[in-house]
């Protein structure tokens, strides 16, 4: 092995948070190595299926079921994988993990440059102090070391850069942000908004706050959204935020970035004398070659579960149970939002109305329970996402009918429907945890990750209440409910897995401090979902980005002041 290459900072992972860490640290003048385990996907030229019609694909967009059952038994359950996007999802056979409790945790992943920033749902919601103070208030989990005032300007900073379209509503539980003009509600959604406001004045239906541009960002080479709603294929317009469209070019423009793809970090090295991490050991997954890179600080942004796994695997004499794990908390208190299909309803009375274009976001009904002194039989809350649309031709696969009449009935748009998906907060519980399998290893010889996870009584009570309230709101708007569920989808289904290296005030009960800095190792920062001490019920990525930018600023200051 040749002499290690040295940088100011190493960022592990190029997804939503890794891209942000690389941007902030390089703009702060640091020489940064960004390490991505997967292949390179170039912005614009790399989105191979973006422009293809269904009939251009071998299986018309439906996917090769026999291949999927063989190689993607888990990933195909995401509801987002299709024949256009299948190469962005990991091959389950090549990327195994152990999941113990039935029905099994579904770990959805994308291993390539940009990670899940290419595949994400783009919903951007701020947390409020109702969320940051929840653990302290009801005693579940440990208190967050920050409050809204600590992160507010970082939300501004992130929203301004990535571009978030949305409507200001003045709700204390869902603070307004720095928004580009909102995309409009369609005619049925606007009707339901009014109906809810009349019947339930404390509730609000608003357009999703989404990282899709309604105003171009010419300085970033990004065009406004073309209303295709095929974001998951990659967008050559750069109309939604991804590492490729936004943070990576900004980092590269500084001249301070070195990017490695096909490079798997196998371990973070630790020096007991200085009590610092010194760098990373990297396997080139194409050549099989191994290299060591050193740096003054390390930002771990591999995605919540992979970041925890890397810490667990980075054992040393000083940290026999995983790096930065003197507390013994590492791996514990993992979460994912409990979600389910709260209601599907038919909305009569709008048969002569339709829409043009495919809006890339739905609506949101922010949390309205347990905001004040409440007597609910559960703690925390839930929110809904969904929207109204007219049923397409796929309805023809489920109904009787043949011939000319059948064909002509499918020529017209079908009934208006309204869907509300429930997202319930997940309490942090110690028994929900990540650990390393003592026997099974992956393709590179590393111990597989073991996921112990189940939803608890509180999540089930939240979803039961959500089902009831979803039906009540839709009924109040004149809808006819077809279906509703309060059974949580398997863990992982929200693709909001988080926790395992939580932030906290006290080193004995948490892994990271208020700046996402490891209590045990001052030059190690973990800024992805692993850091979360509670889950709230909002989509978490915006908060990860804000925490990352905040941590990067702190790290730069500590480096300059000599504290690192």
């Amino acid at each position: 092995m040749s002499a290690p290459q040295t940088f100011d900072a190493i960022v592990i992972g190029s997804g939503i948070t890794g891209g942000w860490a690389a941007k902030e640290l390089t703009q702060g003048g640091l020489k940064v190595l960004l390490v991505e385990r997967g292949r390179n996907i170039e912005h614009r030229s790399g989105y191979k299926t973006e422009m293809l019609a269904p009939w251009d694909l071998p299986f018309h967009g439906q996917g090769n079921a026999s291949l999927w059952n063989q190689r993607y038994p888990i990933q195909q359950r995401s509801g987002h994988m299709d024949e256009w996007t299948q190469d962005y999802w990991v091959d389950d056979v090549d990327n195994p993990y152990q999941s113990v409790q039935s029905p099994g945790f579904r770990w959805y992943r994308g291993y390539h440059l940009g990670g899940r920033s290419l595949m994400w749902g783009r919903q951007c919601y701020r947390w409020s102090d109702i969320d940051f103070s929840a653990n302290a208030r009801d005693g579940h989990g440990t208190d967050w070391p920050i409050r809204y005032a600590d992160i507010e300007k970082w939300y501004d900073h992130v929203e301004e850069f990535i571009g978030v379209s949305g409507a200001s509503e003045g709700l204390p539980q869902l603070p307004d942000g720095h928004f580009q003009p909102a995309m409009p509600l369609n005619v049925v959604e606007a009707h339901v908004r009014e109906a809810i406001q009349r019947r339930f004045p404390d509730r609000r239906l608003t357009i999703g706050r989404t990282a899709n541009l309604t105003q171009a960002k010419a300085d970033q080479g990004r065009v406004s959204c073309q209303q295709r709603a095929i974001c998951g294929r990659g967008c050559s317009f750069g109309a939604y935020f991804s590492t490729q469209s936004s943070t990576l070019p900004a980092a590269q423009a500084t001249g301070n970035l070195t990017l490695l793809t096909d490079s798997l970090v196998e371990g973070i090295s630790y020096d007991a004398g200085s009590r610092r991490v010194t760098g990373v050991d990297v396997l080139n997954t194409r050549s099989g070659g191994r290299s060591r890179y050193t740096a003054k600080l390390v930002f771990l942004c591999a995605g919540a579960f992979n970041s925890v796994a890397l810490l667990l695997r980075s054992r040393s004499e000083q940290f026999p149970n995983g790096l930065a794990n003197s507390s013994g908390v590492l791996g514990h208190y993992i979460m994912d939002h409990a979600n389910t299909l709260g209601t599907v309803a038919v909305m009569p009375g709008f048969e002569s109305h339709y829409y043009f274009g495919n809006r890339p976001t739905g609506i949101v009904i922010p949390r309205f329970k347990n905001l004040d002194n409440s007597t609910e039989p559960f703690v925390r809350g839930y929110s809904f996402q969904g929207g109204a649309y007219r049923a397409g031709w796929m309805r023809g696969t489920r109904q009787a009918g043949l011939g000319r009449e059948f064909k002509e009935s499918l020529r017209r748009p079908g009934e208006w429907k309204f869907v509300l998906t429930s997202f319930a907060e997940c309490l942090p519980r110690k028994e929900n945890r990540l650990s390393l399998d003592p026997v099974k290893t992956d393709a590179y010889g590393a111990p597989q990750l073991r996921i112990d996870f189940s939803f608890g009584d509180n999540e089930r009570k939240l979803l039961a209440d959500a089902k009831k309230e979803a039906a009540a709101m839709i009924t109040a708007a004149g809808g006819r409910t077809l279906f509703g569920s309060d059974e949580p989808s398997p863990g992982g289904s929200a693709i909001h897995e988080m926790g395992g290296a939580r932030m906290g005030r006290d080193p004995p009960t948490s892994v990271l401090n208020e700046f996402n800095q490891a209590h045990d190792v001052p030059n190690l920062f973990v800024t992805d979902g692993a850091a979360m001490a509670s889950s709230a019920c909002q989509n978490p990525s915006l908060t990860y980005m804000a925490l990352t930018a905040r941590a990067a600023q702190s790290a730069i200051e500590m480096l300059r002041s000599g504290a690192l």
Partner: protein
């Protein structure tokens, strides 16, 4: 099951050459002829395909736009079944064909069109009924899978997706309330409406 005799294929190519050249009033290149000969819509060469073509006509016939047969959906369904789409078992087509023949008390395809349509309409009504019809043979209860593959194949084909319905990859704008006029067609590219129909 063996394929068609080579002589038949050759004569098919010649016929295609002649009709296409006449229609276009121009000479065709060999590549164009080969492409035409490989066009699945023109290859009605196996018993399974013949039955599928008939079922395609029954489900989605030609009207003012071409139907599922002309869109080549028989070939799509064969491929879909071979790869298990919608949970189709690999023997779906053969068992369904045999059950149809049994129901017809003779070869299904030899029945009159009127009788074929009546038989299929009965299967369709019973297979999609809310209560399971135990009197319907198991193989015929697979009709919803087969029909779904025809429907999916057609509306994701260029003919079904962009002629029968409207297809637009890049709308460029979102208009939240458009008055639907008589004769307006649905968007096959309304991905949400299709997925959650």
């Amino acid at each position: 099951m063996s394929g068609p005799p080579e002589a038949l294929l050759l004569s098919r190519r010649e016929a295609l050459l002649n009709s296409a050249a006449l229609a276009l009033g121009m000479a065709l290149s060999p590549a164009q002829i080969w492409a035409a000969a490989k066009d699945p819509a023109r290859q009605n060469t196996t018993p399974a395909r013949a039955l599928l073509d008939d079922l395609c006509d029954a489900v989605i016939p030609a009207t003012d736009t071409p139907g599922a047969r002309a869109a080549g959906i028989g070939a799509f369904v064969e491929k879909a079944v071979a790869h298990g789409l919608r949970g189709a078992h690999e023997t779906l087509l053969t068992t369904f064909a045999a059950a149809l023949d049994a129901l017809s008390e003779g070869e299904y395809l030899q029945q009159s069109e009127e009788r074929r349509r009546a038989l299929l309409a009965d299967i369709d009504a019973r297979a999609f009924a809310n209560a399971q019809d135990d009197a319907l043979p198991e193989a015929l209860r697979q009709w919803p899978v087969l029909k779904a593959l025809i429907v999916v194949g057609y509306y994701t084909s260029e003919i079904g997706g962009s002629q029968e319905l409207r297809y637009l990859l890049t709308p460029g704008r979102f208009d939240p309330d458009v008055r639907l006029k008589p004769g307006d067609r649905a968007w096959s590219s309304d991905w949400t409406g299709v997925k959650f129909a």
